[in-house]
């Protein structure tokens, strides 16, 4: 800037302030990007009940999905009714068949209620239909940035490893799941994996906050930064930077292939794990398999304003649909996570205790756990436990 120009500007400023022209200017809010992220994480942890609460009763969106989803949701509604849970379900039909509700309507329903309980929607494999699947679209539109599941060894379930207690926190909106693909020439397809500092910081902060809030000691970042130097390198850098803000939490990192090997040989070494989307998919499934399978582990998808609860491994269970052998545990435990989120800890505990007692003490096991019981056998036992608990 030249001296003459600067002098003219000062004169102009002086004139404006003397004549009251600067008073009514609205202040410009400058929110730095990382501060916006931290707000998102703080909102996610706020723990206040969402807006759809009237007369002491909550309304929750119910998305049965495909496969075993619908039958399990019927059982959940049954158990909720018996326990006297003040939750009403607004059921929307998001599924693979033609009479499914439009995905945008479903998203609006979840936004309206703030919370949803969801079964998995089956994806038809069609490489000519580009774009996101319904499940992925739901997660990204609602910005459910964290997928959290806890794999805990259960005493009554026979597995090869014992003493596992791992929390897997997976970035849920970007990475390999952006569905940005194109065929550049015939026979050559490019698929984009996007990693951003903003979302990596967000998920890292979520992970460390989780560790602090739940008394966990170590966070391990899982990556493949030796090969994907820029992408996973950025993710790892964000995690390392975030770790500096939490000196009381131990931080380590591990490459995904070594992590897979360690998980099947010594899974007890892991505490909290944070990772991008695809690795999260793999590690969640390994973790769930180690503690008993897809029927046992619940998961939650948390965003700044919304939360969706589902079974951790997101299976439709196509092969066991309608046979009454699906394990309702995962979905039931997901519903108790939802109740905890809704600030209904008493009901959550009642149902959770009944479910765990059925599985661990009474040993009513469906075929996936090596037993002979049907879904209805398990649910009847749970209902009996709830009644016998003296809660009713």
């Amino acid at each position: 800037m030249s001296l003459t120009f600067r002098r003219s500007l000062c004169k102009l400023h002086g004139y404006c302030s003397q004549n009251g022209l600067l008073k009514n200017l609205a202040p410009v809010a400058v929110t730095r990007r990382h501060e916006r992220n931290y707000t998102a994480v703080d909102n996610a942890y706020k723990g206040m009940p969402p807006p759809a609460m009237y007369g002491g009763r909550h309304t929750v969106t119910l998305i049965p999905g495909d496969g075993i989803g619908p039958e399990l949701m019927i059982h959940i509604k049954d158990i909720f009714r018996h326990t006297g849970v003040p939750v009403d379900f607004e059921e929307v039909n998001l599924s693979n068949d033609p009479n499914s509700d439009d995905i945008d309507d479903v998203i609006t329903a979840v936004k309206r209620n703030g919370i949803a309980l969801k079964g998995n929607v089956e994806t038809v494999l069609d490489d000519r239909a580009p774009g996101k699947t319904k499940n992925v679209k739901l997660r990204t539109e609602l910005d459910l940035f964290a997928n959290v599941l806890q794999c805990v060894s259960l005493p009554g379930v026979k597995t090869r490893h014992q003493g596992i207690d791992i929390v897997i926190i997976r970035e849920n909106t970007e990475g390999e799941y952006t569905s940005l693909e194109h065929e550049s020439v015939r026979g050559v397809v490019e698929s984009l994996k996007i990693i951003t500092a903003e979302r990596s910081n967000r998920i890292a902060k979520y992970a460390f906050e989780y560790a602090v809030k739940h008394g966990r000691k170590k966070v391990t970042a899982i990556h493949k930064a030796n090969i994907m130097k820029l992408g996973d390198g950025l993710f790892l850098k964000c995690c390392r930077e975030m770790a500096k803000n939490y000196p009381e939490i131990e931080f380590g990192d591990m490459i995904i292939d070594n992590c897979s090997m360690q998980m099947v040989s010594r899974p007890q070494q892991f505490d909290v794990m944070v990772m991008p989307n695809l690795y999260g998919n793999i590690v969640s499934n390994i973790g769930a398999g180690l503690v008993g399978g897809p029927g046992v582990v619940p998961g939650k998808n948390i965003g700044s304003d919304y939360a969706v609860f589902e079974a951790a491994t997101r299976n439709t269970g196509k092969s066991i649909t309608g046979k009454n052998i699906a394990n309702p545990t995962a979905m039931l435990l997901a519903s108790t996570l939802m109740l905890e989120h809704l600030n209904l800890p008493q009901q959550a505990k009642t149902i959770k205790d009944a479910v765990l007692k059925t599985m661990i003490e009474d040993r009513i096991h469906t075929p996936d756990l090596g037993g002979q019981a049907s879904t209805t056998d398990v649910v009847h036992n749970i209902l009996q436990e709830i009644r016998g608990n003296g809660f009713l």
Binding site: T133, V188, M261
Partner: protein
Amino acid sequence: MATRIFRSLVPSLARLSGVRTYSREASLVTLIPGDGIGPEISAAVQQIFEAAEVPIEWEIVDVMPVKGPDGRWAIPAKAVESMNKNKIGLKGPLGTPIGKGHMSMNLALRKTFDLYANVRPCMSIDGYKTPYDDVNLVTIRENTEGEYSGIEHTIVDGVVQSIKLITEAASMRVAQFAFDYARNNNRNHVTAVHKANIMRMSDGLFLRCCREVAEQYRDIKFDEMYLDTVCLNMVQDPSAYDVLVMPNLYGDILSDLCAGLVGGLGVTPSGNIGAGGIAIFESVHGTAPDIAGQDKANPTALLLSAVMMLRHMDLKGHASKIETAALNVIRDPDFRTADLGGRATCSQFTSEICRRVRESD
């Protein structure tokens, strides 16, 4: 009668003079000893092969990259020539010096010889107890493209895109190899592992190629499974899987997962198949510089890779002989090396295998 005596004398004379006689003509195999524990385990393998009288001559080469006249780092021409001539190679662990300016050794080899398929048979080792004792599968991984294409860009500050490349040519090639391998090794089930629900076009293309090739191999059962389902089922019941074929990243993760099921990289063999009939068999563990030169190394991984190599070269008899001896020795707690929970040295382990190989004749 004189002829008979003379004929019976020749082998012993030959042995006395140090000339080896084989039942078939000796093949030349390129040997890359490697770094760290590489030389000792390569020596162990050579010793065992000698005891088993395998018709192989070793041509030892060094693959440390040198700077060419054009300023580019490349594998020395002598090594490349040897490999192209012999077609078969055995490689010990190679370390990549950090900060020296040249690329990873394994990447260099892969690019030079167009090693498009990585094969890892994972079999539970009787005698080395892991929570999984019924593993018997093979992972075949596409090794040239996919997520490891190395194409990455920073679009704006804080936003990075990595490109995953899937081509029809590479997918067809690896699928073809997978089915051929299944047929040649009496395997009757091939599973394509993918995530085509999320990456519809790229993994969709890979799947289409696998399906097309499966049409030509009606005798082999083919199915497709999501990567997460495979991981979930693998840790619960690995016996359900036979041959798995998949793109690069999934292959990397799954092959290491399966190696973990049977006991880790120290006991897992691996082979890389390249264009033009080249095959390099290797041990995939690290160079272990902390125990190098102390006679503590475990040559099992390299030995099992060498056995894989023998089967590839159609020397199945020798392969079985060595493999049986090695597995028997591992079963014996007196001769296990430190990493398998024993106290034997590398030389003790090796000599015991040599002894059992000779005894089995």
